[in-house]
């Protein structure tokens, strides 16, 4: 089946070479980081996690987003998702692969990563995150591949795969819950110390993951004969729209608790992210334009996505999905992790700016993710189109 990835149009090969070139440049950046140390990044004693960990956090959500396709299709027997569900499972594989690469990129001693297995530590949430992420990766490779291969052979998928598919549903919830627990279990950081963090993560995941999927589906519709179908498209609009609204509801709850209670620790980071944090005679606000844009884009995206369905406009659908995707990418891929470090534990402010090498490595990991995704999608779509022809 994999050989399908080796035959493609010129466009396919140009796209893959483009990704490979980014991976090459980022690979060189990583060699530099490996030799010099993480000091080559913009991280510091005060902001100890940067874009690597924030991308990781966001991508866990993209991976969990696949649940929004698997659950209706396999549990509720929602047949309209028949063509798109494999895209969700394969996207989860690529997203988890990126998550693992971002974690490795962030380690000071990557050669010792296996110490997490050698010295299993159940009281550390990172230990559980390792288990759920790798487990989810295995589950999606297994379920996606077996189901697709059955389709390739023209038979129904074997019965033994069903329990794994059912298991992957709560497992998707667990990856984002445990990832939230990395943050919300730390007593000193008020911005993260909120019970609503895991629900908020899930809400944004169920919007951002399917939104990205929708954009890709629309690209595939244009470039290949693969069409996920109008009904699936319209149903996804409902899912993305409501999940995005839920995310903003949760964000609103955070604002209420912080500003109505007037509890200083809860207000500081929100001040820093959305209004600028006055400290001494300086105002720190390097993330304010991003965070405000995130809110505007997210709300606009919600409005437009329903308009796109009313008008049956694919163009508007792509725009609204991109707005929602990037809104939540800023919210979680930037603000959530970086904001937690401001102010620091001594009530001082250090702002973080990623270095060129850091951005190069980040771009390369994204490119690797899309490289994996392209191979998997090429196989899936070739099989689907072949069977339907």
């Amino acid at each position: 089946m994999i050989e399908k990835a080796l035959k493609g149009s010129t466009g396919y090969w140009v796209w893959m070479l483009f990704l490979l070139s980014i991976m090459g440049v980022g690979g060189l950046c990583y060699v530099q980081q490996f030799n010099y140390g993480l000091g080559i990044t913009g991280m510091s004693r005060d902001v100890t996690w940067g874009v690597y960990i924030s991308q990781f956090t966001f991508l866990v959500g993209v991976a969990a987003g696949g649940l929004m396709l698997v659950l209706p299709y396999y549990i509720h027997n929602y047949k309209a998702f028949g063509r798109i569900v494999i895209l969700g499972e394969f996207m989860a594989i690529a997203a988890i692969a990126m998550c693992l690469m971002f974690i490795i990129a962030d380690l000071g001693q990557p050669m010792r990563a296996m110490n997490v297995l050698l010295h299993p530590t159940p009281h550390s949430m990172l230990f559980w995150d390792m288990i759920v992420l790798n487990g989810y990766l295995v589950l999606n490779i297994l379920c996606g591949w077996v189901v697709l291969q059955s389709e390739y052979k023209g038979i129904k998928y074997p019965k033994w795969i069903k329990p794994f598919i059912y298991l992957s549903i709560p497992w998707a919830i667990s990856i984002h819950t445990v990832t939230a627990f990395l943050y919300c279990g730390l007593p000193g950081r008020h911005f993260w110390l909120t019970a609503i963090l895991a629900p908020r993560f899930l809400a944004s995941a169920f919007a951002a993951g399917p939104a990205l999927l929708m954009v890709i589906a629309m690209i595939l519709k244009r470039t290949t004969k693969f069409d996920v179908g109008r009904e699936a498209q319209d149903k996804l609009v409902t899912i993305i729209g409501y999940a995005a609204m839920l995310n903003f509801f949760f964000l609103g709850c955070e604002f209420f608790v912080a500003y109505y209670s007037q509890f200083p620790g809860h207000m500081h980071t929100l001040d820093y992210l959305f209004w600028g944090l006055g400290h001494g005679d300086q105002v720190y606000n390097n993330l304010v334009p991003f965070m405000r844009a995130s809110v505007v884009m997210g709300l606009a995206g919600i409005a437009l996505i329903f308009v796109s369905r009313a008008k049956q406009s694919d163009g508007l659908l792509v725009v609204s999905c991109l707005l929602i995707f990037f809104a939540f990418w800023i919210d979680k891929g930037l603000g959530l992790v970086l904001g937690g470090f401001v102010p620091n534990m001594m009530d001082q402010v250090t702002e973080y700016y990623p270095s060129a090498q850091e951005l190069g490595i980040t771009a390369a990991i994204w490119a690797t993710g899309f490289f994996i995704l392209s191979i998997l999608y090429k196989v899936a779509i070739s099989v689907k189109l072949e069977k339907e022809a």
Binding site: G39, S44, R45, G108, Q109, R112, S124, F127, M345
Partner: protein, 277 residues
């Protein structure tokens, strides 16, 4: 017995078992020694958790008044510690590594706004800042490899050879006590000056990519010596070090008779450091 009733009893029984088992399973998720909600007699010494069964719990009282009376003393504690522990000096804030340092009241006690008519007087005080060696340490809970751990004497120690450099402990520490080796501490700067000015061969240097912090001088405690900073301040008694679990120890006596404060007591970490301001 009809089947519905039997099913009900089964479920009720299982629920009861789960209800009994769940809290203990949850507690084992947390770090063993620290009992989550200990309110009773253990309230002495800053309401820390149950006493360690092994006996000792090292702790320290920092008398800021005495440091103010002896200018330069706090700085001497810092330089002595950093020299014997081969703490590198990179000359910039971004890469900075520090085990113990002098800071201002508003930074060390950022939540304490109860002295609002005397901020200048407080902020001119030289406040020695170091790892709190918490009785309920969030860093130990967060570490995925047990590279940071609590010794039986209550010291929060580190295994630099096991640390993978994930910096989860740095996110978890409510006191900013931890530093990371962003670059090779054994290296030299552009002018050829080594980051470790004069290496102490008796203590290991660290490598790039691991976290480090004050270790309460475990290497000295092991051979019956007191921590280096305490030794520097010995004549003035600005630092009183000893066993918090021994009611006769000097540190226990000071804590019984003097009003002291802790950093961020509301975080539930139960620090082993106490300040006289």
């Amino acid at each position: 017995m009809d089947s519905k009733r039997r099913d009900f009893l089964k479920i009720a029984g299982l629920t009861a078992i789960a209800g009994i088992a769940a809290p203990s399973a949850f507690n084992s998720l947390l770090k063993g020694e620290a009992v989550a909600s200990e309110h009773g007699e253990a309230a002495a010494a800053g309401a820390h958790g149950a006493a360690a069964p092994t006996g000792k719990r090292w702790g320290m009282v920092i008398d800021v008044k005495k440091f103010a009376e002896n200018p330069g003393l706090a700085e001497k504690c810092v330089s002595t510690c950093h020299a014997i522990h081969n703490v590198p000096d990179f000359g910039n804030k971004k890469d900075e590594i520090k085990w113990i340092w002098v800071d201002s009241f508003k930074h060390v006690f950022p939540d304490d706004s109860s002295h609002y008519k005397q901020p200048e007087a407080l902020d001119s005080l030289p406040i020695l800042t170091l790892c709190n060696h918490c009785d309920n340490p969030p860093c130990v809970r967060a570490c995925p490899t047990q590279a940071t751990f609590k010794t039986k004497d209550g010291v929060i120690a580190m295994d630099y050879h096991r640390c993978i450099g994930c910096r989860f402990c740095m996110a978890a520490c409510p006191y900013g006590a931890r530093s990371f080796n962003w670059r090779d501490p054994r290296g030299k700067n552009a002018n050829g000056q080594p980051f470790i000015k004069a290496e102490n061969p008796k203590f290991p240097t660290r490598m790039r990519g691991v976290v480090e912090k004050c270790n309460f001088c475990v290497e000295r405690l092991a051979i019956g010596q007191i921590p280096a900073c305490v030794e520097v301040a010995a004549q003035t008694k600005a630092l009183v070090f000893g066993d918090l679990n021994d009611p006769a120890s000097e540190v226990s006596q000071v804590l019984k008779t003097t009003f002291t404060i802790q950093r961020k007591p509301s975080a539930g970490t139960h620090p082993s450091l106490f300040y006289i301001i």
